[in-house]
């Protein structure tokens, strides 16, 4: 499937800040699941910084924007040809050993309720267990935008019983790691279905290491594994670690962010 992406993130600073530094994971890696046809990142006024492939196999690109800065606009446009690999990440080169993905971070640290949720699930094999955990998290946290925020932890979202894809993913990672299954946070895009699925086009899901299969994606928000509608941008231990754009402004200006994402089936 050919998918086109047009993703604009506009940061405004009031008053203007002295400078901005950003770190991007905005370029999809080439693998069996996805082939990049074209990909363009525009950042007017920005100076391209160092770039490298990190231990998770994702392309990282640094940017600096010398001040005074009142607005930073990052635009990503491209076309990706995707293939359904039944949720399994294939042909992706990476260096971090899967064991390392068992470590907990603040947003994925379990509390008693998360532990209870995870313990309540058992299955014959790891793959079935991962599927069951994915379903259980989706059931325990109803999709509802606006109730959680960027810093909500998995435990907090579970207590609320509501959240968005970030919260589902954090909770699923916590549960998987409780079962000693390495798990990680994936950020990417999801092409919305014809019937107008309510979920974000800028999407997030989890990958869980299944011995024998490798990394397998689980989207707890949609209770499915990623297929050809998904574009994978990068991964990390949690949402912040896997964020497509991380940035820090120097100076006291208040930051506001406006995002527009269009992810559509491209014309043949």
């Amino acid at each position: 499937m050919r998918i086109s992406v047009d993703h604009i993130s506009r940061y405004s600073y009031d008053p203007p800040v002295r400078s901005v530094v950003q770190s991007h994971r905005l370029t999809p890696a080439q693998c069996d699941n996805q082939r990049i046809e074209s990909w363009l990142i525009e950042l007017p006024g920005g100076l391209e910084g160092g770039s490298f492939t990190d231990g998770a196999g994702d392309r990282v690109q640094g940017w600096t924007i010398p001040g005074p800065v009142s607005e930073v606009s990052v635009r990503v446009r491209g076309i990706v040809e995707t293939t359904d690999c039944a949720g399994v990440l294939r042909g992706h080169r990476e260096r971090i050993p899967q064991l390392a993905w068992l470590r907990l971070t603040a947003p994925t640290a379990p509390d008693a309720a998360l532990s209870a949720l995870a313990r309540g699930i058992s299955a014959a094999d790891p793959l079935a267990l991962a599927h069951a955990l994915c379903g259980a998290v989706g059931a325990a946290i109803a999709y509802r935008p606006g109730v959680t925020h960027a810093h909500t932890t998995a435990a907090e979202a579970l207590a609320l019983g509501e959240g968005v894809c970030q919260d589902h993913t954090h909770a699923l990672i916590a549960c998987a790691r409780l079962h000693d299954l390495p798990a990680r946070y994936v950020s990417g895009y999801l092409q919305a279905s014809e019937d107008g699925s309510p979920h974000e086009a800028a999407h997030a899901w989890a990958e869980i290491w299944i011995e024998g299969l490798g990394w397998v994606g689980f989207d707890a928000s949609n209770n499915c594994c990623p297929d050809e509608r998904y574009i994978r941008l990068g991964c990390g231990f949690d949402a912040r670690d896997a964020a497509p754009i991380r940035g820090i402004a120097r100076g006291g200006g208040v930051e506001s962010l406006e995002v527009s994402v269009a992810v559509e089936a491209a014309q043949q």
Partner: protein, 470 residues
């Protein structure tokens, strides 16, 4: 009563390296000694060497006690130590380069994967990164203890940013000022080449794309840090700028410092701040000490950070037990300097032994330093031991245990006169294009009678450390 090896007086005889010190001591009446001690203290205070103990409050300008009685090694003794330390520094760096790359030693089953990859000090952001010359730990401080004429043991390794080298240099400086005759009578190897060697080492690991004489800086957390004196001392000796995070910024693919003449490019950063504070964009977002974007520049080869982030996974106290294995695996050699036998409380059979023998053992936190959070069994009360036992049972994987070593003693000036006090030794090994080691190190001495804890935060002092020329 336990007996200890004394490095000067062994079985009623003065050991040869100390022969001349015997005469020196005999010719020094108590009044002169007190006078000299006061003079030394005044010198230290005047140059401003002070040591602030973390979290203890009190006088921030406290002096670390300086004991004028030197510690002496013969050329032969040192030669063996040096070979052992070089071997260790090489193996530790090979280990770091390996675990952030393919992890051969783990694939070969020589070190448990979980111990490394789930270690707090393992830094995933460093995976697949190859720093210049594949050196991760550029200054390796190896803490050694001695239990007999030929018995040295490595107590622990320090691969991040071992401190104390300024004392090694200042102790010598002050001894030379106060007792020039001693240095005429004894042929003592100089240590003052350290700063130049450090500069050379740092310059040798400049990024590949650095096309000129590299600009080196020392990055300090600031003037409130207890080691600030050392940071500014080393910067001065090397002739490089001492910077704080706010003095540096990232622009494009390089790091720059803010100078009165505009931005100046920086090539090598000898950082004295911990990993989590280096870059708020990559690590702790609330860090005010670091430089936003630094890690992206570093990982794309625009600047070198010494030591590399994540180097701490090699000096973890649980990983320590595998260093002899690293030496065999990477170098194909047998360790020259043995480890202290260590029980890992994370292993059930080890833990059983430890719990049964707590009053005889020293138990340490895996990530602890500075002599905090440890139990010295033979020096503790029943209550202290039981309180520690509870903590140990709660988190076994946080602790290791070692036998209480019969640390060697060296005569030291104490209130009553001259008495043997326990010592350890920290030499500083530099790793860059070459491996360099100045002859000497920092001798720490437990000035309290009977104490085995040499940490300055626990009543320890320092001595000048001599290596005699052949």
């Amino acid at each position: 009563m336990q007996t200890f090896f004394d490095e000067m007086n062994d079985q009623g005889k003065v050991r040869p390296p100390y022969a001349r010190l015997q005469e020196w001591l005999a010719a020094m009446p108590a009044e002169l000694r007190n006078l000299k001690q006061a003079e030394a203290e005044a010198l230290f205070r005047r140059v401003g060497i002070t040591f602030a103990v973390y979290g203890e409050g009190g006088d921030p300008d406290r002096l670390i006690p300086f004991d004028m009685f030197p510690r002496v090694f013969s050329a032969q003794e040192w030669m063996r130590l040096e070979r052992g330390i070089r071997q260790r520094a090489k193996a530790l760096n090979a280990f770091l380069a390996d675990v952030y790359d393919r992890g051969e030693i783990i694939r070969a089953g020589r070190i448990p994967a979980r111990l490394v990859y789930l270690n707090e000090a393992y830094e995933p952001a460093m995976a697949a990164i190859r720093p210049p010359r594949r050196v991760f730990s550029h200054i390796v401080g190896v803490d050694l203890v001695r239990t007999g004429p030929d018995a040295f043991h490595v107590l622990e390794d320090n691969c991040r940013t071992p401190s104390g080298v300024s004392y090694m240099l200042e102790n010598r400086e002050i001894m030379m000022r106060m007792f020039p005759d001693l240095f005429r009578e004894n042929r003592i190897e100089p240590v003052d080449g350290y700063a130049e060697a450090l500069r050379r080492t740092l310059a040798s690991v400049a990024p590949e794309k650095c096309d000129r004489d590299p600009t080196i800086v020392i990055l300090t957390p600031g003037h409130f840090n207890s080691a600030y004196y050392e940071h500014s001392f080393l910067a001065d000796l090397m002739g490089v700028e001492l910077v704080e995070g706010q003095d540096l910024f990232v622009e494009g693919d390089r790091v720059w410092m803010r100078t009165t003449e505009g931005p100046q490019r920086v090539d090598v950063i000898y950082r004295r701040i911990d990993d989590p504070y280096l870059d708020p964009l990559c690590f702790r977002p609330d860090s005010m000490l670091g430089v936003p974007g630094l890690m992206d520049v570093y990982r794309s080869g625009g600047v070198t950070i010494c030591s590399a982030p994540g180097a701490g996974v090699a000096d973890d106290k649980a990983v320590y037990t595998y260093v002899p294995e690293m030496i065999r695996f990477y170098l194909g050699e047998e360790p020259i300097l043995p480890n202290v036998p260590t029980w890992q409380c994370a292993k059930p059979e080890d833990m059983k032994h430890v719990l049964a023998h707590l009053p005889e053992l020293v138990v340490k936190e895996v990530h602890g330093s500075g002599g905090y959070g440890m139990l010295v069994g033979p020096k503790s009360t029943r209550e202290q031991i039981e309180a520690f036992r509870a903590r140990l049972i709660e988190r076994p994987d946080n602790y290791i245990a070692q036998p209480t070593l019969a640390l060697s003693t060296v005569p030291s000036f104490v209130e009553e006169g001259v008495a043997p006090r326990h010592v350890d030794l920290r030499p500083y090994c530099l790793v860059g294009e070459r491996i360099e080691l100045v002859p000497g190190g920092l001798t720490r001495v437990a000035l309290r009678d009977g104490s085995l804890v040499v940490n300055s935060s626990q009543g320890g002092g320092v001595k000048d450390t001599w290596v005699l020329a052949e």
